[in-house]
C-alpha cells in the first residue's frame, strides 16, 4: 500500500491518455457484461434445467404436435414420476410487437412439474375456478401494468397466429387471476399461462387432442437416459414418434437454433479484449518509455528490479481494474433494472460467475498489457537509463 501513491501518480501524468484508455476498457467490459446477460438469456433454460426432468417432443421437430393421449401412456412407464403437457400458443396482445410467451397447461400438473414457478395458494384456487383464467409472470405483468394499465381481474384479449380464433369468438380472452414469480434465479417470470381445458374447448375441432411437448419427471435422475429411451421405444414406428431428452439438452438445442450463443459471445468478447489489450499495452509501453530516466533514478535509489517490475504491473492492473470493474459494475446496475427488451430477452441478468470471470479478465488484461513494459523496466540498466539525462 505504501507504493500506491507512486503507482497512482503515474496514471495522473497524462490524464487525457489515461482517461481515453480507461474509457476503452470501460466500454469493453460494459459490452462483456451485456453479452454475458444476453448469453444467459438464451441459455437460462439450460442453467435452471432440472437433472430429473426430460422433455418429450415430436421426433421430427418441436413444431410438430403430439397426441395428448400420450400423457397417460408415458405416466404408465416404469421410472416416470410425473408428466405435464405444454403447448406453444404464441400470444399477441393488441400489437404484434407486444408478443408474450403464452402456454396452455394443466395447473396442478404444471406447477408440480415446475416448482420454480411460484403461485400464491389463493391465486391457484382462483385460477382453478376460472375457466379462462391466466397467471402472468411478474416481469410481464409489471411491464403491461405500467404501459397498458393491466390489473388483476382484467379480461385481456389475445390473438394467436398459430391457433387462430377460438370457436364462436373473434379473439381469445383471458382473465388475469394473479401473478407468478420465479422461485429460482434465472427462472422465467415473463410468460402468460392459461388453462389447457379452456384451450382444448375453444380451438378448432381438427386440432383438438394435441399438445406441443411433455415435461417428464423421472423418479431417479440417474435413470433419466434409460427412461428417455423407454419413452422413445414406446412410440417407435407410430405416426408420432418421439424424441425424449434431458431438459438441459433440450434448452441448449432450442437456444442453438439462434446459433452457438456461447461461441458467438466468446468470439465478440475475444475480439474486443484483444483490441483493448493492444490499446492498454500501448498506453503502458508509452508510459514506461517516457519514464526511462525516472525508473533509472528509482533503481539508483535502491529499488530492486523485482520491485520495479511489480510497480509497473500494479500500475497496469490498476488501470485495467478501474476501467474493467467500472464497466462491469454499470452493466450489472443496468441488468438490475430488468431487461430492456423483455419480449425478446425475458431473463436479463449477469450471473455471479460471469461477474467473477470479468474481474479475472480485467486482472489478466492488466497483467498482459503491463508484462512487456514491466520486463523492459526490470531489465533497464541504470547507467543506460541515466545517460538519457541531458
Amino acid at each position: 500500500m505504501k507504493f500506491f501513491a507512486l503507482v497512482f501518480s503515474n496514471l495522473k501524468r497524462r490524464k487525457l491518455r489515461t482517461i481515453l484508455t480507461l474509457l476503452s476498457i470501460f466500454v469493453a467490459f460494459l459490452l462483456f457484461g451485456f453479452l454475458c446477460a444476453i448469453k444467459e438469456a438464451f441459455l437460462a433454460g439450460v442453467s435452471i434445467a432440472g437433472a430429473d426432468r426430460l422433455i418429450v417432443r415430436h421426433k421430427v421437430s418441436l413444431i410438430q404436435p403430439l397426441p395428448q393421449s400420450y400423457e397417460a401412456k408415458i405416466e404408465a412407464l416404469p421410472g416416470v414420476d410425473a408428466v405435464a403437457a405444454l403447448t406453444w400458443f404464441g400470444g399477441i396482445y393488441q400489437d404484434p410487437k407486444d408478443f408474450i410467451a403464452t402456454f396452455p397447461v394443466d395447473p396442478d400438473k404444471y406447477l408440480d412439474m415446475y416448482p420454480e414457478i411460484v403461485v400464491a395458494p389463493d391465486v391457484l384456487t382462483k385460477w382453478k375456478q376460472t375457466r379462462n383464467g391466466a397467471i402472468v409472470g411478474k416481469t410481464t405483468f409489471d411491464r403491461f401494468a405500467k404501459s397498458q394499465g393491466w390489473k388483476i381481474g382484467d379480461r385481456i384479449p389475445f390473438t394467436s397466429p398459430i391457433w387462430g380464433q377460438p370457436e364462436g369468438q373473434a379473439q381469445w380472452e383471458f382473465e388475469i387471476v394473479g401473478v407468478y414469480t420465479a422461485g429460482k434465479k434465472g427462472a422465467d417470470d415473463t410468460s402468460f399461462i392459461f388453462r389447457y381445458d379452456y384451450f382444448e374447448e375453444a380451438r378448432a375441432p381438427e386440432r383438438k387432442g394435441t399438445i406441443g411437448w411433455f415435461g417428464v419427471r423421472v423418479k431417479d435422475a440417474a435413470q433419466a437416459a434409460e427412461v428417455a429411451s423407454r419413452i422413445d421405444a414406446q412410440f417407435a414406428n407410430s405416426p408420432h414418434e418421439t424424441k425424449a431428452e434431458a431438459e438441459g439438452a433440450f434448452a441448449a438445442g432450442f437456444a442453438s437454433q439462434v446459433g452457438d450463443i456461447g461461441r458467438i459471445v466468446a468470439g465478440v468478447v475475444g475480439a474486443v479484449f484483444f483490441t483493448i489489450l493492444l490499446v492498454a499495452g500501448n498506453t503502458m509501453g508509452q508510459s514506461v518509455r517516457e519514464r526511462t530516466e525516472e525508473i533509472g533514478v528509482l533503481k539508483a535509489m535502491g529499488y530492486p528490479n523485482g520491485l520495479v517490475l511489480t510497480l509497473v504491473l500494479l500500475e497496469s492492473c490498476l488501470l485495467a481494474l478501474l476501467g474493467g470493474l467500472s464497466g462491469l459494475g454499470l452493466a450489472w446496475l443496468v441488468t438490475l433494472g430488468g431487461s430492456p427488451v423483455p419480449q425478446m430477452l425475458p431473463v436479463f441478468v449477469i450471473p455471479h460467475r460471469d461477474l467473477a470471470l470479468g474481474g479475472v479478465f480485467a486482472l489478466g488484461l492488466g497483467l498482459l498489457a503491463g508484462a512487456i513494459p514491466a520486463i523492459q523496466a526490470m531489465r533497464l540498466q541504470i547507467a543506460v537509463a541515466l545517460r538519457k539525462l541531458g
Binding site: K2, F3, A5, L6, S9, N10, K12, R13, E293, E294, V297, L298, K299, A300, M301, G302, Y303, P304, N305, G306, Q381, I382, A383, L386, L389, G390
Partner: protein, 230 residues
C-alpha cells in the same frame, strides 16, 4: 575529517563497445577517498568522470579491478545485494534533479524511505527534517513544476540525504542552475560535508564548484591526471 579510507578503487578498467569499436573509458584507475572528504571530479567530456561516479555508486560494473566502499567489495555483489547496498549507503544528486513530476516535494523525498520498514508517520517525520534541512519546510506540498530550479535541486538533495546515507554522489549538481542558485546548492553541500560529516563525490565541469570541494582530482582519457587539494 577522518583519515580512514571510505572509497578504495584499485586498478579499475571500464570499456564500452560502440559497434565494432571498443572505447576504453577507464584504464587501470586507482583512487582513494577518505571518510568525510568532499571530492570534486573534473575533466573534459568523455574523460570518464560519470563512469567513475557510476562505479562508485554501484550503478555500473567495472570490467576489472576492485571497488571497495566502507569495507564492502561492491564489485562482488549481485544485482539484488547491490540495490540494497545503494539504498542503505548512497544518495544521488543529479544535474537535472530528476524529481517525479506527479509527486509533490514531500512524496519525492519519501521515495527512498519506502524501501525501509519504518511507519508512515516516521517517514513523514524524516521527510520534514530533510526538507527543513535544505530550507524547504514551506514547500512540502509543492509539485516540481511549481518550484524553481534551485528549489528542485534542494528537493533532490533532501531526497538524497533522507536515509542518512554514508556517501553523497553528485553529478553536475549545479550544471543546470544560475550562478546564485548554484552557489546556494554548493553551500548546502559544504554544510552537509562539514557539519554532518557526509562524504561527497561531485562530478563537475565548473572550477568555481570544484573550489568548494576539499580535494579535486582531474581525469583525462580514463586516468587520473592531477590531484589538487583545496
Amino acid at each position: 575529517m577522518s583519515t580512514e579510507s571510505l572509497i578504495q578503487i584499485k586498478n579499475v578498467s571500464r570499456t564500452f563497445r560502440r559497434g565494432a569499436e571498443e572505447i576504453h573509458v577507464l584504464s587501470g584507475l586507482n583512487l582513494e577517498v577518505k571518510a568525510g572528504e568532499f571530492l570534486a571530479l573534473m575533466g573534459p567530456s568523455g574523460s570518464g568522470k560519470s563512469t567513475l561516479l557510476n562505479l562508485i555508486g554501484g550503478l555500473d560494473r567495472a570490467d576489472q579491478g576492485s571497488v571497495q566502499i566502507g569495507g564492502d567489495r561492491i564489485d562482488q555483489l549481485n544485482d539484488r545485494q547491490l540495490a540494497a547496498w545503494r539504498a542503505r549507503h548512497v544518495g544521488f544528486v543529479f544535474q537535472f534533479y530528476n524529481l517525479m513530476p506527479a509527486l509533490n516535494a514531500a512524496r519525492n523525498v519519501e521515495l527512498p524511505l519506502l524501501l525501509t520498514h519504518i511507519s508512515k508517520r516516521e517517514r513523514m517525520a524524516h521527510v520534514e527534517i530533510a526538507l527543513g534541512g535544505v530550507g524547504l519546510s514551506h514547500r512540502l506540498t509543492h509539485y516540481p513544476r511549481t518550484l524553481s530550479g534551485g528549489e528542485q535541486q534542494r528537493v533532490g538533495i533532501a531526497r538524497a540525504i533522507v536515509t542518512d546515507p554514508t556517501l553523497l554522489l553528485c553529478d553536475e549538481p549545479t550544471g543546470d542552475l544560475d550562478r546564485k542558485s548554484g552557489d546556494e546548492i554548493l553551500s548546502l553541500l559544504q554544510t552537509l560535508n562539514r557539519e554532518h560529516g557526509k562524504t561527497i563525490v561531485m562530478v563537475t565541469h565548473d572550477p568555481h564548484a570544484s573550489a568548494r570541494a576539499s580535494r579535486t582530482v582531474h581525469l583525462d582519457k580514463g586516468q587520473l591526471s592531477t590531484e589538487a587539494p583545496a
